[in-house]
């Protein structure tokens, strides 16, 4: 993987600042009780997903130009497996939970 060129202090600092902002938002919301109800979960989930992308891009240096296609393929494959297994498990278990009530 030859992407040493993109490694700079600025890249890491940008990622770090973005990560701090995306961490502070959900903590502040839960701490201050600014938002209530299901909206809180939506904000936490959105901030978490965005922060994962920030980490992948700025710390793990993933991008569509220099990252080898196989690596992106495996990342996509793992993502599909995770969605099927986690989504499927939760679907089955919540369904079961409702039927047992």
């Amino acid at each position: 993987m030859n992407h040493t060129a993109e490694r700079s202090v600025a890249t890491y600092l940008t990622g770090f600042v973005l990560a701090i902002i995306l961490t502070a938002i959900p903590f502040a919301i839960v701490w201050g009780g600014l938002v209530t109800g299901p909206a809180v979960y939506a904000v936490i989930a959105a901030a978490a997903l965005m922060q994962v992308v920030v980490h992948l891009v700025f710390f793990l240096h993933l991008n569509l130009r220099s990252t080898p296609a196989e690596n992106l393929f495996f990342l996509g494959f793992a993502a599909v497996l995770i969605v099927i297994m986690v989504g499927g498990s939760l679907w089955i278990m919540t369904d079961l939970h409702h039927r047992m009530m």
Partner: protein, 197 residues
């Protein structure tokens, strides 16, 4: 082409293959964590008359742990930059800072576990706590191995210098360390934040 250049090309190719192999390992590790997350979400409300997440979690504690881990990701990045610049002394310095932050995180986590068990919230109490200790403990164990890796790599940089294989190992250890920070995003978003609501 001389023998030396051919050998160097072979070595580079072999190291690139290892980096790809390590990436595949990280993806399988991500799947393990995802399944532990699914288990936790299913069991999180089953506190079996034991202490609930609201009574056990302290968000301030989690915030400091998050800060330590995030900061350690940045300092490992600085070590990587120093490596690209070929400055072995700085690499060692940043690795030691990263190690200190990582050990600080582990100490806080053990303190939290100890406090929870003292309050009657050990892993054997309920489904919720079994799932909690399995998921957070697995992450903590990964961080402990990462810290061990940093100790080993500090030694290698000092003894062998920044040779091609050492650089490759350092990059792989960096992937591992940054990956653990990504898992931690999931932990505070799925366990701690909803846990105190």
């Amino acid at each position: 082409m001389s023998v030396a250049t051919v050998l160097e090309e072979e070595e580079t190719r072999s190291l690139e293959a290892r980096e790809f192999g390590f990436w595949v390992y990280l993806m399988t590790d991500a799947i393990i964590f995802a399944l532990l997350f699914a288990t936790y979400v299913v069991l999180s409300k089953n506190s079996a008359a034991g202490p609930t997440s609201n009574e056990l979690f302290d968000l301030r504690h989690t915030a400091v742990e998050t800060a330590l881990l995030l900061l350690s990701s940045l300092t490992f990045g600085m070590a990587t930059i120093a490596m690209t610049a070929g400055r072995a002394g700085r690499v060692v310095l940043w690795l030691i800072v990263t190690l200190a932050l990582g050990l600080g995180f582990l100490a806080m986590e053990l303190l939290e576990f100890h406090g929870m068990i003292a309050k009657g919230g050990g892993p054997e109490v309920s489904g919720f706590l079994s799932a909690f200790f399995t998921l957070v403990g697995t992450h903590g164990l990964h961080v402990a191995f990462g810290a061990l890796g940093i100790v080993v790599m500090t030694g290698q940089v000092l003894i062998k210098g920044l040779t091609l294989p050492v650089r490759s190992r350092l990059i792989r250890l960096g992937l591992f360390w940054h990956f653990l920070d990504i898992v931690w995003i999931g932990i505070f978003s799925v366990i701690y934040l909803p846990g105190v609501m």
